[in-house]
Symmetry: C2
Subunit: 347 residues, 2 copies
Amino acid sequence: MDRRVTKKDDETSAGERPTLKTLAFMTGLGVTTVSRALKDAPEIGAETRRRVQLVAKQIGYRPNRAGVRLRTGKTNVISLVLNTENELMSFVSDIIYGVTEVIADTPYHLIVTPYSRSQDPLDPVRYLVETGSADGVIISRTQPNDPRARYLLERGIPFATHGRTDMGLVHPYHDFDNYAFASEAVRHLAGLGRRRMALLTPPIGLTYHGHTVNGFTDALSEVGASEVPFNTVTIDHSIEQIRMRTAQLMQRKDRPDGFVSSAAAATLAIVAGIEDAGLKLGRDVDVVSKQSSELLHLFRRELFVVNESFRLAGSELARAVLGWIGGKEPGSLQSLSKPGEVLSYRG
Amino acid sequence: MDRRVTKKDDETSAGERPTLKTLAFMTGLGVTTVSRALKDAPEIGAETRRRVQLVAKQIGYRPNRAGVRLRTGKTNVISLVLNTENELMSFVSDIIYGVTEVIADTPYHLIVTPYSRSQDPLDPVRYLVETGSADGVIISRTQPNDPRARYLLERGIPFATHGRTDMGLVHPYHDFDNYAFASEAVRHLAGLGRRRMALLTPPIGLTYHGHTVNGFTDALSEVGASEVPFNTVTIDHSIEQIRMRTAQLMQRKDRPDGFVSSAAAATLAIVAGIEDAGLKLGRDVDVVSKQSSELLHLFRRELFVVNESFRLAGSELARAVLGWIGGKEPGSLQSLSKPGEVLSYRG
DNA sequence: TTGGCAATCTGTAACGTTTCAGTATACTAG
DNA sequence: CTAGTATACTGAAACGTTACAGATTGCCAA
């Protein structure tokens, strides 16, 4: 007689990780019953349900992710898709914290899926979908006509974008109101008597580039100030390039007397460029900048800042994706964060 | 006759994701043979092997992670364990990029496992191990006697630490030579004629706190300079606290004329504090700081900086963990990164 | 010819879960 | 007293993979 020892007949008791079989053995029930009892299925007796759940809690049962995933296709994974070259440093760290904060008491794990400049941004998303690696996706650097959003929408994969699209398609997003930021900034500069303003824009092609530019130009005409073109460079460019371009710009006689900057690191470069040109911040020129960590006021107290919280963005994006996965209407999972006041630290 | 349609008898051909069964059907081989052929098992004929691999490539076969994981326990996941409150911003972003760079052409995914100040740092690690969620773990904020390292070592889970331990146990690590940094910094300040130096240390309890302090004090006695105690605050403290303490310190008559700072953000605060006290950087006091992004020179060109690359750390840590998983000796997977020169931007 | 063995290939079971199609029991309606 | 039905539970199959224990074939030595 063949008497190989299989797992079937032996200890359901050892120091191994408990499974449904363990629970079934301990409660004297079938595996099926245990499974259903744990998820509050209706056809399980109230007492049985409680008993199973109690035992499960006692022995610290945790469903095996691979088992669930294999059987159901549910991965319990959210993927954050990031560009490894162009994301802002603070963005990455804060958005991750924001996301993890929200998924902390869910079964979800966060995986980071990177792509580099050379790659098609669609690549990582395609990979995720083709390999079924995530239940939901968060993408950044959103474009008005975003192939990734379109692709995910076509496949029915829940996702949320940091930034809006403009394709007539509805999907969850979180965005900062950069139109409001730019126009507030311009109004603030105008209030200081500045009349000739330059804008350091977000990367061309991203949706919020347009928002920012529109807010800027609309407010310019509202306050009757004029624009000094500064479009050879964006916040994606290197510190050194921005610095150099700023210095060049400030050496011209028709130089701006006000700057609006879309990112903190870029603002350091702008200020350096201004000073390279022998001019003084607060006297010859004023700068309003967005920042995500409250550090710029230490750099030069003459700077004006508007705060944007990427941690909030991360939380909102996670909430949105989870909401969609959970069956909510995509259209109800959109949020826009309004900028606070323009803050000053002088004096 | 029972003629339910099961998956067994039908299409292995549809638009679904290909599995081993698909490949088996296409090649006319058994599932087992296909499985072995794909992993270059020895008992598969050379031609068969090539044929299977060709077909697999053609139809874009990718092993189902859940299947592999369920069967073998291998998750193909590396987890980065992060403190959501105290990590440096640049650290998080750069280390993630460093890690992803290395695992990009492996089957590994990176998951971020967070924990907060209130929690026991062991919690997330315990979770990972108990749920078998990762093949390897990367931990930061390493302590001389690190319970996490001990725990992982006991369970035989491959890991690497950012920073060394001091428990007489051998495990992979990557570290920056903070002893060298601090002592070089002191020597540099001494070279500028500074005689009374203060050190803004890393968080107390972390291994590199000790390295930094030792490098600092050893070099002090080497150059015959003296220490001005500045230990009410560390780089973990808030910007405002560091600034306030620095200002207080600089108002005393026995104030330091040189600072060594272990982090860039903290350096901003130190400089602010110095200036709050009405003193001038480069004249009354000099500061040498570590930084991980090259931004400090824009802040004040009088600053002296030493660069530490967290991206490199991430890559090295990933390489170390993968190496251990791959069977290399833990002791051979340790690396120490030497600081470059103290850089100056004045002039 | 026969036995042995190397070279290739294959079926089955198992990992832990959920779903499908039941089964057993007790209760209700007629 | 029977048939129908609601309640509570259960075994088997399947998800995709790998490991184990064969099975088949051909070749060579004796």
